[in-house]
């Protein structure tokens, strides 16, 4: 109730209060002021209510900013869902002898890429690391890039 009233009149006051808590706050406050709808203003109001935890919240609202200002959505940027390549191919065993299969999963410097980069599922990543380490041991893959 109080939040709904707040954005229309107190949008300017909430904006000054936000910069004290977080530098990205004012941008969220401006977006709220520009959009006639409640959501932007609501996030600004919440930021004004609780200083510390409210800080990140306008930021998440700010994530939706570039796409469309009036939209409620926080997730306007749609990240493409990564799928485990081994699950797609229904791989039951990752062969350490096939370096060309393993090489996309290591960095240039020879580090094993984490799951969050490649989208490999937990089980296949487990097998993959073992396979990569074996391949390293028999000089099929590098431990570290040579200079």
């Amino acid at each position: 109730m109080a939040d709904e009233n707040a954005p229309q009149h107190q949008a300017p006051p909430s904006a000054p209060s936000a910069p004290a808590s977080a530098p990205t706050g004012p941008a969220g406050g401006h977006a709220g002021g520009g959009s006639p709808g409640g959501p932007g203003g609501y996030s600004g109001g919440s930021g004004g209510m609780s200083g510390g935890p409210g800080g990140p919240r306008p930021q998440s609202g700010g994530g939706g900013r570039p796409g469309g200002p009036a939209k409620r959505g926080k997730r306007n940027f749609v990240r493409k869902k990564k799928v485990c390549r081994f699950c797609v191919d229904k791989v039951d065993y990752i062969d350490y002898k096939k370096a060309e299969i393993l090489s996309p999963f290591i960095q240039d410097r020879g580090k094993i890429l984490p799951r969050r980069m490649t989208g490999t599922c937990a089980r296949h990543q487990r097998w993959l690391t073992v396979a990569i380490k074996r391949a390293q041991n028999i000089a099929l893959l590098p431990f570290a890039a040579e200079l």
């Binding site: 350490y96 002898k97 074996r134 390293q136 028999i138 000089a139 099929l140 893959l141 590098p142 040579e146």
Partner: protein, 142 residues
């Protein structure tokens, strides 16, 4: 003890004549046979570039073998031979039977699931078709 399976890869100096590589392979086969194991498969991968320098060499002659044995003595002796043999610069033995067993299991599991899926799909068309004929006679009788 059940039989175990190993992968054995060794790398020779790239400048060794092929006859010497064959000699190493035959001695390994003899050793394995002597200790009660068996070399099932031998593949010569040939000269390959190594990912890093080994013994100051950038290339090596790769040989891949599949060893089966029921006790570890075979592998121990094979590794000892590889260690002392002159042309060999690097070797790796990996026990694989458990992973292959796991692979088999997963494969069976997948096949069973694949076999079940059409069966699940089959009754679905059956059910609409079976009421339809039953519906026709009732319509005819009424």
């Amino acid at each position: 003890m059940e039989e175990r399976q190993y992968d054995l890869i060794f790398i020779c100096r790239p400048d060794t004549p092929e006859a010497d590589v064959d000699k190493v392979i035959t001695t390994l086969e003899h050793v394995a046979a002597e200790k009660g194991g068996k070399i099932e498969k031998t593949e010569k991968w040939g000269r390959k570039r190594m990912a890093y320098r080994v013994a100051k060499l950038r290339e090596g002659f790769f040989v891949y073998m599949v060893v089966r044995s029921s006790h570890g003595e075979v592998v121990k002796e094979l590794e000892r031979r590889l260690k002392v043999s002159e042309p060999v610069i690097k070797y790796l033995t990996v026990r694989l039977d458990e992973e292959l067993k796991r692979q088999e299991k997963l494969k069976r599991h997948r096949e069973r699931r694949a076999a079940r899926r059409p069966r699940k799909a089959a009754p679905a068309p059956m059910q609409p078709s079976s009421p339809a004929p039953s519906g026709e006679p009732t319509a005819a009788t009424s």
